[in-house]
């Protein structure tokens, strides 16, 4: 694929056009241009290929990260097999993934106060294996959801997985929750 010379329609414009965030008159002008400009046609093909590749990539359950219920609902509709754990601070929960699980969803509950950002760390046998910083969703969230590819969880040793959450507020970081998953390894049906 190549990016041609015509600079009239940028990736940002195509993104705004596709999501309906351009005013009607601007959108109509873009349409007229796109259907007559061979250079921009290549740009559209590139954008189209990228957008169409996202659902199968996410549906492969290899992405993970902070998600919301809207994403989990679509994964469920796509038939992705998920194992979900809802954890309150201090919880110690036995956990295992079955060999046909594709995704593990951790629902981590905590009092986030007025924090807008949170960092999650996971430690296995004292070593940090994941550190992710994300923004809290919604006005007053009581939980956040972190998704992990089950294939990644399966390769962990049978050991305690420590999950630590800390919230950021005005440049300060404070712990808001500690959770323990007693990982029993991969189970076979």
């Amino acid at each position: 694929m190549t990016t041609p010379g015509c600079g009239q329609v940028s990736l940002a414009t195509l993104t705004d056009y596709a999501t309906g965030e351009l005013p009607g008159t601007d959108a109509a002008a873009i349409e007229e241009h796109l259907f007559s400009c061979a250079d921009c046609a290549a740009r559209v093909a590139e954008f189209d290929g990228l957008v169409r590749a996202i659902p199968p990539a996410v549906g492969s359950a290899e992405v993970g990260g902070f998600v919301t219920d809207a994403v989990l609902n679509r994964l469920a509709r796509d038939g992705v097999r998920m194992r979900s754990f809802t954890l309150s601070p201090g919880a110690i929960v036995p956990c295992a993934v079955w060999d046909d699980d594709e995704l593990m969803a951790l629902r981590l509950r905590a009092d986030f106060g007025s924090a807008s950002e949170v960092t999650m760390r996971q430690r296995v046998e004292g070593s940090e294996v994941i550190r992710a910083t994300g923004h809290l969703a919604g006005a007053s969230p009581a939980e956040l959801i972190y998704a992990l590819p089950a294939a990644w969880v399966r390769q962990l040793p049978a050991a305690e997985v420590e999950v630590l959450l800390s919230a950021h507020n005005s440049g300060e970081e404070r712990p808001v929750g500690s959770y323990t998953l007693v990982h029993g390894g991969s189970l076979h049906r």
């Binding site: 659902p55 809207a70 509709r77």
Partner: protein, 192 residues
């Protein structure tokens, strides 16, 4: 000797349209495939904006281009030099028709059934899903979430802003940045 796709690549839209219109039946398969390759992404983009459904946008691209080729073969396209405008016009007409059908379907559904059916089929992607998954993982958490909510969960912009507790303008900026990074990661050296 039939032309290869490589040589057709250099042929303008007008010439392509004229060849389909003037060629004997069964001899213009390569030209028809090339017309589809060129315009399907644009019709899908148009459909994505106006129908808000990837599956419906896929169907629209197929139907519009099928109809265009039929009209060309029947010599009913009066100005082949404006084939792009013809395809855009056909797209507009079919989207209007689709909206009428949808309204009628919804009215019938409201009368006879009490559930909605999710009919969006999976898109057929040509990019490697593992590569794209790896690139999605490499995005910052919030950037990735905006991409997922937009292009996977089909969330409208105001809902994403509400979900993330930021303004619609901020969502737009995050989406621009995330898509640029995703494109650079996925297409990498293939871009010029």
């Amino acid at each position: 000797m039939p032309e290869t796709n490589a040589t057709l690549d250099a042929v303008g839209d007008e010439v392509l349209a004229r060849r389909i219109a003037e060629g004997p039946p069964g001899t213009t398969d390569a030209e028809e495939a090339e017309l589809y390759r060129r315009f399907a992404p644009r019709v899908r983009l148009y459909g994505r904006r106006h129908l808000r459904d990837d599956g419906a946008a896929d169907d629209l691209a197929q139907e519009v281009l099928l109809r265009t080729i039929e009209r060309l073969r029947a010599r009913e396209v009066r100005r082949p030099e404006e084939i792009g405008s013809f395809i855009l016009g056909t797209s507009r007409m079919m989207v209007q028709g689709e909206r009428r059908i949808t309204r009628r379907r919804e009215a019938l559904a409201a009368r006879f059934i009490d559930t909605t059916v999710d009919t969006a089929p999976a898109s057929t992607a040509t990019l490697d899903a593992r590569l794209v998954a790896g690139c999605l993982r490499s995005l910052a958490e919030r950037d990735r979430l905006v991409v997922l909510l937009t292009y996977y969960a089909d969330r409208e912009a105001p809902r994403i802003a509400e979900d993330l507790g930021v303004s619609s303008g901020a969502v737009r900026v995050i989406r621009h940045r995330a898509m640029a990074r995703l494109r650079d990661c996925v297409l990498g050296g293939n871009r010029t």
